[in-house]
Amino acid sequence: MKDENKIFKIITSSTVLKVLKETQKIELVGFYNKLEALLKRDIPYGTIGQKLVLCIALSFKNQGEWNIFDNGVLALKIKEGLLDGNNVILSNPKGNVINVIKGIYINNYVEAEEFSKKESQLVFFISYMEVHLFINGKAIYYIPNIMQSSRAGVDTPEKLPAREYRKLIENHYNRHVYKEKGSFKYWQNKTRRIFICNPEIQFNKNLYSYLDLNVVDGHVDKGATISGLDDRTDIRIITYENGDMYIMEIKCLGKTDSTKYNDDWANKGLIQLCEYLKDENVAKIGILIIYDGRMNNEEIAWHPNIKWHQKIDKKPMRFFLESESASVKAKRIYKEIKKKS
């Protein structure tokens, strides 16, 4: 069958299929398609820049006074202050607004997830270019940057097979991580090199989304259990053709407000990965990915007594996270050059 991988990608990763599976409503697929079009059309003009939650009521009876998908209407309503102090819009699947819920302001995706439990509905949490989708308290999809995302299965120049995992991880770094140039922000204090809370979770989510879209011949999942055990891997790719499994373990080095992670943390990650590989017979390779937020760009001191599993990629990928601006960096380098000469 021609395009087998493309079809498998749609079956395993497509958001619209997840929406249909969870809700059994084709109408909500239409809502998703329209919302994606609206965001891609309006976000570049900065009109939908606020934090905004859209919540869909499943009633067809409620006819609203205005429709969020009518050209420019939502942007105009926001400009007029409709969402000042509130940010939950209750709409029907056609986009007709039933009402703006008074006195509720959802600040982050965790609150949005909670809200979707209470209301038992489909909830989109949109924060600038980031889009989260929840159904009945279940996270269905997360898009770090809607402008850079496409549909699962679309051919783009960045698509690569799973065996090119190193290139994929590097591309993700260059496109989304390097100097926080995408929408992904991981520094709480850039000058003092302090990470946001739970940086590994954020890196994990971001890399997962990228791989999910760009691995052409396999399904990507996160938090999957190792066969028969309670351990959970960070990210896995399983190829559609023969089930080859690539396991990725993510570690962040550096400090958060409360904790400091150094070489020991990287060594623990290595041991953890060895354990996963021991227990997962179908694994083809395991790769340790380190996002390095320490003060200095230094190689990791691997403990000599750790026995590297034969399926571990012997070159863990370490990305030193830049926090200096080009001018500050130039000043420092020049100072060092002068000192040497």
Binding site: N33, S150, G153, H219, T239
Partner: protein
């Protein structure tokens, strides 16, 4: 006009498309849009083993076309089953009619569906129309068309039509029905796709029911459309 039994059946099916469009609150269907709706309903019908009274579609650059549909539209207008709602223009040159169902047309459908076979046909057409409605406003579809007509971009990617479009022979018949076409190959694959996955996949999770098969089919057309746009 002499009308045989087959023409009556075809008229019913076209009326079901208008009835479903009305249920979905689509204001009207143009003569371009109705061609695409009938084409998709018909080419996908073996999936549900529904027997629609097949129309012959030929390849035209602007999409699959059946001359019988225009005749039937005229006939349904004469019967007061549908009426002309408005006119649209294409590239500010050609104008074409938009139709909608009348109250008489609706009550005719409600009588027809007492027959379970007719009811089944209506249900089938309703699902296809729902999907067309769900995709007509997807991101990046051509701005040249409006409403349901926008689905034309996806119909171009429909495997049987796309194969013929590569030969670009105007007027070539598009094979329909349960034949060995690329469309059927794709549908048959989707029906059992989970079985083709390696054993370490949770195959049960990826089993598709009828609506899901149709959705994946539409999503595939959309993905193909977006992929070709990227290449351009």
């Amino acid at each position: 006009m002499l009308l045989d039994n087959k023409t009556f059946k075809r008229s019913n099916e076209i009326l079901y498309v208008f009835y479903s469009a009305d249920e979905l609150a689509l204001p009207f269907l143009s003569k371009i849009g109705i061609q695409k709706c009938i084409y998709l309903s018909e080419i996908l019908s073996p999936l549900k083993e529904i027997i629609l009274s097949f129309l012959n579609f030929i390849y035209l650059h602007k999409g699959p076309y059946s001359k019988d549909i225009q005749n039937i539209l005229d006939y349904l207008v004469a019967l007061d089953g549908i009426e002309v709602d408005s006119f649209s223009t294409y590239r500010r040159k050609n104008s074409y009619a938009n139709y909608k169902i009348t109250e008489a047309g609706k009550s005719l459908v409600e009588d027809l569906i007492y027959d379970p076979m007719e009811k089944e046909k209506l249900q089938w057409i309703r699902i296809v129309l729902k999907l067309i409605d769900a995709y007509k406003d997807a991101f990046d579809l051509s701005e040249e068309y409006k409403g349901v007509d926008k689905i034309i971009d996806l119909v171009y990617q429909e495997p049987s039509f796309y194969e013929i479009s590569q030969r670009n022979i105007k007027g070539e018949f598009i094979p329909m029905g349960n034949k060995n076409t690329l469309t059927m190959e794709l549908i048959r694959f989707l029906e059992k796709a989970e079985k083709a996955l390696p054993p370490n996949f949770d195959r049960e999770k990826y089993k598709l029911d009828l609506e899901m098969v149709l959705l994946v089919f539409f999503e595939y057309l959309y993905v193909e459309y977006l992929s070709k746009k990227v290449q351009i």
